[in-house]
Every structure is written in C-alpha cells, then in structure tokens.
C-alpha cells in the first residue's frame, strides 16, 4: 500500500471505529456494540473491554416493543419468528426508567436501540421516550456538536504524519 489517499483527510480525521462482538486488537475500538443476555453479562463484558480499550464507549443492543399494546404485539411477533435478543416490552415511561437503571448501575455508556417494528416503535422512542430521558438529565436537549465524534465525546485522532 503506497498511498497517499486521493482525497484529503476527512472531517473527523478518521471515521469512528466500532467493534461488534469479540475484541480485535487493544485500543482499536472507539465504540463497542454488545448483545449481552443479562445485566450481569453486560457488566462482565464491559470489564473485559475496559482492559483492552479503556476509552471506548460501551453500548448495549436492546430491542424495544413499546406502548399500551406492547405485550400483545410481542406475542404476535414471536408467533411469526422468535429471536433471542435482549428485549424490553413495556410503556415509554417504563423504558425510560429501565434505561436509567442500567445507566445508574454503570453497566454501559449507552444503548443501540432496535425498534421492533418501523415506524411504530421508532416514533414512540423519539416522541415519548427521549423527552423522559431528557427530563431525567440522561440525554442532551439537542446536538451540541456537528460530527459523530462530538456526539460521542470522542477525540479527533491525531494524524500519524502530524509531527
């Protein structure tokens, strides 16, 4: 590989490096996406990752089915095809409390939320859950920055040619 690249350095210096599953190399991950089955498993996984990539944001993947009819919809979905993801079924108020509980336990830095049905669960998430998280001081009122690195409070990597 001779290089240089045929376009200048991108806005963020480098895109945010996200790992799913097993660690690749030390300090390579800036965001770690995990799919733990329980809170205890998430905690253990985070400890393992912190040794390897201490600055990485540790994010837990969570499927959500929301609203008054959530339990009924969950049963219908499972009748068609069941999966084994970590899942939350309940009202937006309950989800906000659930996320706050995980956050307070220091299990993770955030969540990668999988709305079970688009756009129903995504709309409920944006319209009903996020305002409750804001009220609890767990989400900012808006974007403070412009780049993904700024949203995640990750540093812009120095160029290896910076000297």
């Amino acid at each position: 590989m001779r290089g240089p690249l045929n376009v200048p350095r991108p806005v963020q210096g480098q895109p945010v490096i996200i790992h799913c599953g097993a660690p690749v190399t030390a300090n390579s991950a800036e965001v770690v996406l995990t799919e733990p089955a329980t809170m205890a498993e998430a905690k253990a996984g985070r400890a393992k990752w912190q040794a390897l990539s201490p600055r990485a944001r540790y994010v837990v993947r969570l499927e959500v089915i929301l609203g008054e009819t959530a339990a009924k919809r969950a049963a219908e979905l499972d009748a068609m095809a069941a999966d084994n993801r970590l899942r939350f079924v309940g009202t937006p108020e309950q989800l906000a409390a659930h996320l706050a509980e995980w956050h307070a336990a220091g299990v993770c830095d955030g969540f990668d939320i999988l709305p079970a049905v688009m756009p129903i669960d995504l709309d409920l998430l944006a319209d009903e859950v996020v305002p409750r998280l804001r009220a609890r001081g767990l989400r900012p009122g808006g974007y403070a920055g412009r780049t993904l690195r700024e949203h995640l409070a990750l540093e812009r990597p120095l160029s290896r040619f910076a000297a």
């Binding site: 590989m1 001779r2 290089g3 240089p4 690249l5 045929n6 376009v7 200048p8 068609m80 095809a81």
Partner: protein, 445 residues
C-alpha cells in the same frame, strides 16, 4: 422529426479547465462537501439533462512520486456522491465510475443495485479498467495488469454482475403477511460462477432493481476498449475533439455491435465538451484567455508528460513538441495521444502550447463562442453522426454550468434538439434504452 440529443454533466472538483479552480467564484474548500455536488445535480435536473457523471482515479495525482502541487483534487467516491444527490433530485440519471480491475463483482453488483433502488431507477455504471498504473501500488499489486488481460477481466466481471442482477426474477418479493412469506425462493437463483478471474456463488442479497441493470457506460477509446464497448456499452463517454475522428469512432463501435448480437441503434455516444461561452465571440475568447492565463505552466507540462508517458520537463518549453523522441520511447499510446502528436506535427505546436491544449480540456472537445454558435456546433456533430449528444464539462463550477443550463438549453429546446421535459422516471427512459429482460444476462440459468 429532428433527432434529439442527450446531455450529461461531468462533475469535477473545481472545474474541467485544469485551472478552473483558481477562478474567483470557486470556493476550493467546497469541493469535498455535499452541497457542491447537490448544486450540480440540481442544475442538471433544471436543464432536463439525462445524467450526472462522476469519475474515479484510485490514486492521488502525482509527479515523480509527489502529489502534484498545482492541480486540483480528485472527486470523492462516485457512489457516495450520487447516493447523496439522489435524495435532492427526482429524474436526472446518476452515472458512477468504478473499476473492474480493482474491485470484486459481488460488491459492485450490490452497490449499483442499491443506487438503482435508492434512486428509483436512475443508476448508470461507467465501467473502467483503470488506466493509471500507480493505482496498482494502492491495491496490493506490484504492477498494473496488462491491458488485454484487464479487458478480459472486465468482460467476466460484467457478465457476473448481470447474472447477479438477474438472479432475482420479477415477482421474487411476495411479502405475504398472512402466510409470513417474504421471498418466493423459487425465483431467486445462485449463479455458481467459476471462471478465469472470479468464483462467485450468488445469489445477490438484493432483489432486482427498477432498471434491471444500471445503464452500462464505457469510456475507453483504444482498440481493446472499442471491442469491449461493442459487447457491453449502451452509452460511450468518448474523448473526441475532432469531428471526423468522432464519426469514424462511432461508426466503428456500431459496426462491431451486431457481431455480439447487439442492436447498434441503441448506442449513445456522448463526447466530452468543454464550452467557454460569452455573449459575444470576443467576450468568449477573452474568457478563454483569462482561463489559460490562470493555468500554471508546470501543470501543462506535467499533464502532457503523464499522458505521453514521456518526461518533457527538460525540453525547451517554446520548442516544438519532440514527437520523434516521444514515438521512439515505444510506449503504448492512447488514441488521444496519437491524435495530439499528429496535430502537433501538422501545426508545429510547441511543448507549452500542447501543455495548454491538454490541460485546458484534458483532451476532450472544447468550444469557444456564443450560446447560438455552440448550438450550431452541437447540431453539426449530431447531424453528421459524430455523436448522440454530449457530456458537458463546465470550465468551472457552478457559474459555467448555470450558464449552459440557462442560456444554451433553451436554444436547444427551441430548435427541437433537446427535450423540454422528462418522459419517464428512469435513466433508461431518458436515453431511450430498453429495460433488460430478466433472462438477458448470460450467466442466469
């Protein structure tokens, strides 16, 4: 009825005149942002253009191993640009350039299928084998693949892509809510391809896109490129600056098409055209002079040396182009280089003059004059069978593109030479091309 022409715009960072980026209206930092490309695509759609065309280089522009200091940049990735502007436009076709030498067929088939789905049937693929040797050094290879081999690889590559696109028949997506069946698997086919260069099992991970295949575009003018064009091209983006040569070139491709079972009538040849316009001829000539004065002399000599694969740096710049020495170097010259050397001999052009010639339009056709004169010029090329339209290469963005759209297109429309509105949503509609039957790909079972 008058034969109508097809129009594309070739996007380029800064502009197509190599010094275009130095013009005061260009904000050089903008060329890496979305708005720069959005503006070009919106102007093209306002002018009812057939397509927006984006190129690809796979290496930084260099001289003797250093990035050339005076030249403008390459484009950012063509598929990224066109996926972004697809959201800002509704009709204009989106032609991305991707190399068959430095990619794998499955990934390319997936990307063009995606662009075609996302844009509602507006994708086109400019199939290149990559001409610049230095790309090899960025792709884990010691040297660039030899040309005949590159075109063999391209042929197999394109066949595989067509097979992958065809692998999902029409109606494969049933989305039966009651039964819980999304895909009719009897309509999805693996291709099980094992060939000289590739082995690909399939099926593609996406259903057939609105156009079936993206419009197949080709840009090489060498004998091998010409043969390849005759086998696959629906549109040719040609570097032709001489009308007689262009007539011969178009006829030569069309003549070869029936041998490959193809109808020559579908072919659309679109030479590049760099217009320099003024409200009077004098004003246009002054604009050309201004642009050529912005041209850094080193850029002209560098571009000439690169194209001729011959170092001209130590020759006197005002002396004649040393065509004897260049020919003796024994490089395999492209048709455009051969053409330029013939012209230099005939007209006694100096190294500097050839540099300006190459740098100003990058060997494509150019025209200096009023909008009316330009329309006459375009009509002559069309009437004489030199082309089916043009790929417009504005000297700089965005003023010169706006000038063409707002002052030339209305004249073309008034004279019945160009559409007043789009007749369908897809690029194949604009170009009058058929939607390939799902069984047209040679590999599909």
């Amino acid at each position: 009825m008058t034969r109508q022409m097809h129009l594309g715009v070739f996007t380029y960072p800064g502009g197509h005149h190599i010094a275009g980026w130095r013009h005061g209206s260009v904000v050089p930092g903008d060329i890496l942002g979305y708005d720069y490309y959005r503006r070009t695509a919106e102007a093209a759609e306002r002018g009812k253009f057939d397509l927006v065309f984006v190129g690809d280089m796979l290496a930084a522009r260099e001289k003797d191993g250093r990035v050339i200091a005076q030249g403008a940049l390459n484009n950012i990735d063509s598929i990224s640009i066109l996926s972004a502007v697809a959201g800002a436009t509704k009709h204009v076709g989106l032609v991305a350039t991707l190399s068959t030498t430095y990619n794998e067929p499955f990934a390319i088939a997936e990307r063009f299928s995606s662009l075609d789905h996302l844009s509602g049937g507006r994708a086109g693929w400019n199939i290149i084998t990559t001409a610049n040797d230095d790309a090899a050094l960025n792709f884990s290879r010691k040297s660039h693949m030899e040309k005949t081999m590159r075109y063999q690889r391209a042929g197999e590559f394109v066949d595989i892509c067509k097979g992958l696109w065809d692998g999902w028949k029409e109606g494969a997506i049933v989305a039966d809510r009651a039964e819980g069946t999304f895909v009719d698997t009897s309509k999805v086919h693996e291709i099980d391809h094992k060939g000289q260069f590739f082995s690909v099992k399939g099926a593609l991970d996406l259903p057939r896109s609105p156009q079936g295949w993206p419009v197949m575009v080709q840009a090489g003018g060498s004998p091998a490129g010409l043969e390849f064009a005759a086998t696959v091209a629906e549109v040719i983006f040609a570097a032709q600056s001489d009308r007689e040569q262009a007539i011969k070139f178009r006829a030569a491709v069309k003549q070869r098409m029936p041998g490959h079972g193809r109808d020559p009538a579908i072919l659309k040849v679109l030479p590049g055209l760099l217009p320099i316009l003024g409200s009077t001829e004098k004003e246009a000539l002054a604009k050309e002079k201004m642009l050529n004065e912005l041209l850094h002399p080193a850029v002209g000599i560098w571009m000439l040396s690169e194209q001729m694969q011959f170092r001209l740096y130590d020759y006197p710049q005002d002396g004649p182009l040393p065509t004897k020495d260049i020919r003796a170097s024994g490089s395999a010259f492209t048709p455009r280089v051969v053409h330029l050397m013939e012209r230099a001999d005939r007209e006694g052009l100096s190294v500097r003059e050839c540099g300006i010639l190459v740098a100003a339009s990058r060997s494509h056709g150019s025209f200096v004059g009023t909008p009316e004169m330009l329309v006459d010029h375009m009509k002559l090329w069309l009437d004489e069978g030199a082309c089916d339209g043009f790929n417009i290469m504005p000297a700089w963005f965005h003023d010169e593109m706006d000038l063409f759209v707002d002052q030339v297109v209305p004249i073309l429309q008034r004279r019945g030479l160009f559409r007043r509105d789009y007749e369908g949503p897809m690029l194949r509609h604009h170009l009058g091309l058929p939607i390939p039957a799902a069984s047209a790909g040679r590999l599909a079972a």
